[in-house]
Symmetry: none
Subunit: 207 residues, 2 copies
DNA sequence: ATAAGCCTAGGGGAATTTCCCTATATAAAT
DNA sequence: ATTTATATAGGGAAATTCCCCTAGGCTTAT
């Protein structure tokens, strides 16, 4: 029985090395290579496949979840284990939809990381207990809806432009309560906390 | 048509002579005088004005940029062309604010120096391509974000992350009123309407 | 030395947003 | 036909933010 070969993908060198350091000396596990971005690991995967891919979400070139979606198509049997500091609803659901085998928070402990890798390598799933908790809530809130309606997007943009509910209402000839309702729906769908985050989301995704 | 009269100001004799040597024999250009410091050239300018003043920044008595600011007042039409080895943000922005007509790095080539002098003498501006590049970055870094203090930027980012005044306050160990004050100052400085616009600004400029 | 900018922080009331609800109508999908 | 999503909108109270003000201590520049 050969060791479990691991690829690590993370844009921060410290994190890459930190994970690698965790795993050095662990029997049955061998870190094969480290990658700072999606493109480099994609290239490498053409030649050689690890047994488990440890993947961060915040990559510079391709979002980790997008990458996971792609890999599901090109390498459907490659088990992906996400390690991310960002555990909000959107990311969790995106990851699950993309079919990742596990999800760990970035402050995971050594023993749990090893446990997760062994599980995932043997074809099972592993979601840390914190993650499971959040994921359940996220699924309850919005399993299938990640897209905003046209009206919701419109209002998100107007909010980002600095208009109040009242101003948006009179501009769109609807009640300010309706504006509020659309805003609330948008926040729920995206798994956000408040209007500030919606504005931030709108700026990065709608402009 | 008489030649273009040049004053050269630089504390290093080698540089003064070097520039002069560059310009000797160039038709249409005549080096009128060399000065090792700001005071000597100030005295000279009371009697006689050149067509272009070549000015170094690192002078022993008065900083070249300060000198340029003064001269803008006393001799507003005198075109100043900075030649400096120091091309950091502060100097570039200072020079531009002082209204200098051109800026060259100290390793400028003969042809470019002549070109710059001719341009400046005819009332145009001349910034070498290296300088333009750096200047653009400097302007982006400073006139844009440097308008906000570090604290203000910090709070703008935290707001964009979706934190309330209270949460930001306890995270930074300051009162929520102080957070509000910083936020208000940031909004005023940037000429915005409200926090939504500040968040939008923060997302595009600070992330 | 004086001014300017920054960081701090409070008072108090007005305005706005947020958070619970409920509700109807319409179009699209199953 | 029934569900689902969308768009609309209100009540009411709590929470938060906004807007005006003042103000002291500190550093930096002129």
């Amino acid at each position: 029985m050969s060791k479990i070969a691991i690829y690590i993908v993370d844009d921060h060198e410290i994190v890459r090395e930190g994970i690698a350091a965790f795993l050095i000396g662990v029997p049955d596990i061998e870190v094969k290579a480290l990658f700072p971005d999606a493109m480099s690991v994609l290239k490498s995967l053409e030649k050689d496949l690890p047994d488990v891919l440890l993947l961060d979400i915040g990559l510079p070139d391709i979002d980790g979840i997008k990458l996971a979606e792609r890999l599901k198509i090109s390498h459907p049997k490659l088990p992906i284990l996400i390690i991310s500091g960002n555990t909000d609803d959107r990311h969790l659901i995106g990851a699950v939809k993309a079919g990742v085998k596990g999800f760990l928070p970035k402050d995971v402990e050594k023993t749990e990381l090893c446990e997760a890798i062994l599980r995932v390598a043997s074809g099972k799933k592993y979601f840390s207990s914190e993650i499971s908790q959040s994921l359940q809530n996220a699924l309850i809130n919005h399993l299938d809806t990640a897209e905003l309606s046209a009206r919701e997007k419109e209002i998100a943009i107007l909010l980002a432009d600095g208009l109040s509910f009242r101003e948006i209402g009179s501009q769109l000839f609807i009640s300010e309560r309706t504006v509020e309702a659309h805003k609330n729906n948008a926040i729920k769908k995206l798994g956000l906390r408040n209007t500030m985050q919606l504005v931030a989301w709108a700026v990065t995704n709608l402009k």
